[in-house]
């Protein structure tokens, strides 16, 4: 990169750096601002008199005797029992990730190792399924689920989320498995392994980078879902995102908005940590599909 001719003139350099700075502020500031504001009272965060109150916390000082207050968090977690939603979200995420990876690795491996024409068509069908908005399918679930009496419980939502996740998982793992040389499992088969043994003892030990990346996206899908979980879960089984939406629907009264703000910050924190730890995997996952296709 260090060729002299590529050095930028000073003006362009300043412009580039300030553009990057503006973008970083645009991307990060809303979250930092909300996290900061979640420790204030509503009259500060949504200040009618003076917007700087949100920074200094005038009203918070008056009400709680300190510039910061955990009242919003207490209201959300204790009073409105947000912890229930957190547990439900954890259950859903763990099961969705494990199941969809198990199904996806088997299917993706088969697609990458079979040279027949139907693999192409299966991938195309998966692409079409990937394009369908999840909510259009939910309309088809409702009546059968009511009839069979399985509406509203966590296992139903988990199975539905796993199925909706399959097309994407298949595409991603298919491209990861194609990068693992075929010679590996072929030599195992020459040594007398069956196809499954070759998969189990030769491919499984080397597939983890791809599986972890795909798992991250499965996790994000389950964690971020609103359409499916809000429609298919009863009130007591709600996950975090529908619970936050419900906060707004029922409790848009004085002070209670801060419960929603606190819940939003609580739900964002795990994602923040996730991006921090798995930044490299997320980037490689986003580009895997693109570079290939």
């Amino acid at each position: 990169m260090a060729s002299k001719a590529q050095n930028m003139p000073l003006g362009l350099k300043i412009a580039t750096y300030s553009f990057v700075a503006i973008w970083v502020i645009m991307a990060a500031f809303p979250f930092l601002w909300t996290a900061w504001g979640s420790f204030k009272v509503e009259l500060d965060f949504f200040s009618i008199s003076n917007w700087t109150n949100a920074i200094t916390g005038e009203r918070t000082q008056l009400t709680h005797g300190s510039r910061f207050t955990g009242a919003g968090y207490e209201g959300a977690w204790v009073q409105e029992e947000f912890w229930r939603a957190t547990i439900n979200t954890s259950i859903i995420c763990v099961f969705v990730v494990c199941t969809s990876l198990t199904l996806g690795t088997l299917g993706g491996y088969a697609l990458s190792r079979s040279g027949f024409r139907y693999t192409f068509w299966l991938l195309i069908i998966a692409l079409i399924f990937r394009a369908l908005p999840p909510i259009t399918l939910v309309a088809g679930y409702m009546l059968p689920f009511f009839e069979w009496n399985v509406w509203g419980i966590l296992p139903t939502a988990i199975i539905v989320l796993v199925a909706m996740n399959q097309p994407f998982t298949l595409w991603m793992l298919h491209s990861f498995f194609q990068n693992i040389p075929k010679e590996l499992d072929e030599s195992a088969k020459v040594d007398g392994c069956t196809q499954f043994q070759a998969f189990r003892f030769v491919i499984v030990p080397v597939m983890w980078p791809g599986v972890i990346t795909t798992g991250l996206f499965s996790f994000l899908l389950a964690y971020n879902d609103f359409a499916v979980t809000s429609m298919l879960l009863s009130e007591s089984n709600r996950t975090m995102v529908p619970a936050i939406a419900a906060f707004l629907g029922t409790t848009y009264t004085e002070g209670q908005v801060m419960f929603a703000v606190a819940a939003v910050v609580s739900a964002t924190a795990p994602l923040f940590v996730l991006v921090l730890i798995f930044q490299r995997q997320i980037v490689s996952g986003l580009t895997a599909g693109a570079v290939k296709g």
């Binding site: 949100a54 088997l106 040279g115 088809g140």
Partner: protein, 341 residues
């Protein structure tokens, strides 16, 4: 791999997709052809001291019996598609006949829920997609030029809007553009109008949702383009420089052609994703100003009434819309495939 082995490997995932994606499509199509049963009415004669009156009341037991016997409803063919909530054929025809100019006709269409949602969905899709590609490209070019040490940090913060739950992201922005929030204050200060409320204005609300869409998806484009820039052959750029290409010409004639396949990829993925725009409308509580196809489905299904047939009909129309958007990709893939084989 033998057919048999392939079958057993693929069975679990294939079964899951068949059961929960393929069958629901069939279920949605079927559902959209049936309307809920009408209530069974009975005439009851009440005879009192002042003579007899007949009253028509709903026979609750009989109604329930009919509904339980045949929960899917009664067959109505395409009626639901043509009613006021969907394609509204009669209303459109009437509007066409009575309006004197395009503006009037457009206004009449704007009062019909399906066309209103369609208008916003398409506006959103075709505004956000090019804008996010452009912004993503600019960020990628800029980040590629800053020093190595900053890059990791910039990528970390850039990933946030994309990975954070769409509903949460839209709520965060919604609270900021509240007339008492920080961005709302800035906007009303810039406009010189202290009473300006973004929430109350339809065009501003559309703009806010579109800006949210760009903010949310630009990181995806950025990451993909940034990865593409890393594979850019250096000698091509150098050759262009020796030929006297300016910096802008290098971008225009070397970098962009190199990234073109990625641009197509991002555009396709984003067209599909933007067409399903839904969460920001809930997050921004914007349904009075902007609705989308997904939102209509959600709204019909939710609440106490659960109008499943109406939701199913909108779903089918949405699927047809997705098919239109996807058809160029499929045709191209098929052609590539035929060339290969």
């Amino acid at each position: 791999m033998k057919h048999r082995t392939f079958f057993w490997f693929f069975l679990p995932t294939g079964f899951a997709m068949f059961l929960f994606i393929a069958l629901p499509i069939v279920s949605v199509v079927t559902q959209s052809l049936f309307a809920p049963h009408e209530a069974v009415f009975v005439e009851v004669e009440n005879c009192g001291p002042f003579g007899c009156t007949t009253e028509t009341t709903i026979d609750q037991d009989a109604t329930r019996a009919v509904r339980d016997a045949n929960p899917i409803g009664r067959f109505v063919g395409l009626d639901i598609y043509l009613d006021r909530g969907h394609l509204a054929i009669n209303e459109v025809r009437e509007a066409w006949a009575t309006s004197e100019n395009w503006g009037q006709f457009r206004n009449a269409l704007g009062n019909l829920p399906f066309y209103r949602a369609m208008a916003f969905t398409l506006t959103y899709t075709f505004f956000v997609t090019p804008a996010l590609i452009l912004l993503g490209l600019l960020i990628a070019l800029a980040v590629n030029a800053v020093t190595q040490r900053l890059k990791g940090l910039v990528i970390f913060f850039s990933l946030l809007p994309f990975t954070v739950t769409p509903l949460i992201g839209s709520l965060v922005l919604f609270w900021m553009i509240d007339s008492r929030g920080i961005l709302g204050n800035v906007v009303s200060y810039l406009a010189g109008d202290p009473d300006l409320s973004i929430k109350a204005s339809t065009p501003l609300m559309w703009a806010a949702i579109i800006i949210w869409g760009i903010w949310h998806s630009a990181p995806f484009a950025f990451v993909v383009f940034y990865a593409g820039l890393q594979t850019l052959p250096k000698d091509q750029l150098e050759a262009a420089q020796i030929d006297g290409a300016s910096r802008f010409q290098q971008v225009r004639f070397v970098i962009i052609p190199h990234l073109m396949p990625l641009v197509t990829f991002v555009a396709l993925i984003m067209l599909m994703d933007n067409f399903r725009v839904f969460e920001p409308i809930v997050g921004f509580s914007a349904s009075a100003h902007a609705t989308s196809l997904s939102w209509i489905i959600f709204n019909d299904m939710g609440g106490e009434t659960r109008q499943l047939s109406a939701a199913a009909a909108t779903s089918v129309l949405t699927i047809i819309g997705v098919a239109f958007l996807l058809s160029p990709v499929l045709v191209r893939t098929w052609r590539d495939f035929k060339v290969k084989s």
